[in-house]
Symmetry: C2
Subunit: 343 residues, 2 copies
């Protein structure tokens, strides 16, 4: 039975039988802050989960206005991180696309020929410009590898497939001068989804694939389908819930496209042939289900895939470098990339 | 920074600062059955989660009476599985301990020198005798490797450390005639915890360790500490909650010992030097946190550890072979063992 393949079920579209099955009734509860995590993480977990009350923007101008505040705040965070972690950040252009060169002060000899390509998160709508770079700075620091962070075009001006096209264009240009097996592609949240979608696109274009991927808590399904989008609602104090912000972001990004197209929701794509992939999420993450669904699909496609789930963490809190568990997780990502990238 | 070790925090006992931090208020909710899993799994997820209402047994006789029903039912399940999957089950004795020889009808040539040692679940109190063997039968079938299932002594007659001592005694006897690197130790729930505790004990005894472990949703912490023991309360329709059954089982098993002793709660043990380990859990599992805590401790101890989290599944539902996702997960376990065991 060892050779038996049990993949057939994964290819079916399941009938919506569940709609006729009774939901689970869960009473109102007070969930304590866990005591088995560091004091720094306890403080992050204790932050209130406040569903965003701002109305969804209706016009291009309203969207731009609503994004300006978070963008400016995240840009400041990135500048602080760059100073703290001794990482240089310089704007540039690759393949006609805006990028940032994010370079650690010290690059050890074994990493000279390596390069990481980063696609930022922010629901496909937020974190343009310098705000795109904070995760790139963290990974540059933890890996000791230079990063190119793609400042891809976004809605409302440039909806799907602009982001995927921009990421693919940068990759196509980078492989002219770099060994693709010495490069990894990575990102978190929308950036995790875009990491997977871009890899699907590179397969479609028959381009060489990266040597490894990190898909951090990937927004791999733009619809509200994964079980933890329900079970972790109100528990996740980063995303809080799908309705509202995420639903509006998905709609704005996808335009007239079906949200389940694989380049929008890569959990529905064919992940065979993907490079070794590490996935990171947390037990309270709204996207825990999306992450484990992708992990199972990768394993069943024969891909070397490693899953990390962090105790008590909500969405993407491993990018908070005040949390020791988060720094440890990024070191695990760095070790995974070090194992899989050509020198 | 690549070589930076961030393990220090994992060795600290965290102050209980969380007790002064505000808990999260979560309103009453109706959680739908997910539509991204097979119809067979949807049916399992839709089963009501009914907190056990039976009072905790007070005397040895009451305990034995309360266990008789579940034991008989699980023994029948094991007999059905053995017939269905063409696996022979025969009682025996190894190192003075009762065991079952659980042998697949067909053992491929590469598995002739391999052996799996199984320690069953059941909260350290349930599933004695034939009831111990259903997981062993499943793994024998999925791996094509012969299994020895340890029918270890249990409370109320034989509390801790009888179970650990019995498992260690069987191991000590098996390694007289088998290559330890060709053997894996495995179990689920209490059996997952006992897999880890037995490995700690083997380290203590300076005996050679197995070539691999499978710790399925390990009860790695007998106290109610892991975050999902709170967040997944009422969502997990196998265990439902810690208070009641689990708390009573822990107390009966531990006797006068502190529940956080590493041989009782191996998440508090030193996991360095452990063999490659695969862990399996589900997004609704009450022990999701215990599983991911062990996974992180293993990775930080430099152990090759693989985590599998199954969409929508409650505790140990991967042992239900009517669910295609569960059969696929056991195939992933089989592949992991095949990669790591000597031939």
């Amino acid at each position: 039975m060892l050779q038996m393949k049990s993949c057939a079920f994964a290819l079916l579209a399941f009938p919506l039988a569940a709609q006729t099955l009774a939901p689970r009734s869960v009473p109102a509860r007070q969930i304590p802050v866990p005591t088995d995590v560091s004091p720094a993480l306890q403080k992050v977990i204790a932050r209130p989960a406040e569903p965003g009350s701002a109305p969804t923007p209706k016009t291009t101008e309203e969207w731009k206005k609503s994004l300006a505040g978070p963008n400016a705040e995240e840009a400041k965070n990135a500048e602080r991180l760059a100073r703290e972690l001794h990482v240089a950040v310089k704007p540039g252009t690759i393949g006609g696309v805006a990028v940032f060169y994010v370079t650690p002060e010290v690059v050890p000899p074994q990493n000279k020929g390596r390069l990481l390509m980063h696609v930022h998160g922010g629901g496909y709508v937020a974190f343009a410009g310098m705000a795109a770079t904070s995760e790139a700075i963290l990974l540059a620091s933890h890996t000791g590898i230079a990063v190119v962070s793609v400042d891809y075009r976004m809605p409302p001006d440039a909806p799907f497939p602009a982001a995927v096209d921009d990421a693919a264009a940068v990759w196509k240009s980078l492989i002219q001068t770099h060994n693709p097996r010495g490069m990894a592609l990575f990102g978190t949240s929308a950036g995790g989804g875009l990491t997977l979608a871009t890899t699907l696109k590179l397969k479609e274009l028959k381009l060489p694939l990266p040597g490894a991927l990190m898909a951090g808590t990937p927004w791999a399904d733009l619809t509200q389908t994964g079980d933890t989008e329900f079970t972790n609602q109100y528990l996740d104090n980063t995303l809080v819930q799908y309705q509202g912000g995420l639903a509006a972001d998905a709609r704005l990004y996808a335009g007239s496209h079906n949200l389940k197209e694989p380049l929008l929701s890569p959990v529905y794509g064919d992940l065979s042939g993907f490079p070794p992939t590490i996935l990171v999420t947390g037990t309270r993450d709204l996207f825990l289900s999306d992450t484990v669904r992708v992990h199972q699909k990768l394993l069943q496609a024969g891909v070397d895939a490693q899953l990390i789930v962090l105790e008590g963490q909500s969405h993407a809190q491993y990018l908070d470098n005040s949390i020791p568990e988060s720094r440890a997780a990024l070191d695990e990502v760095a070790q995974f990339l070090d194992r899989h990238l050509d020198r």
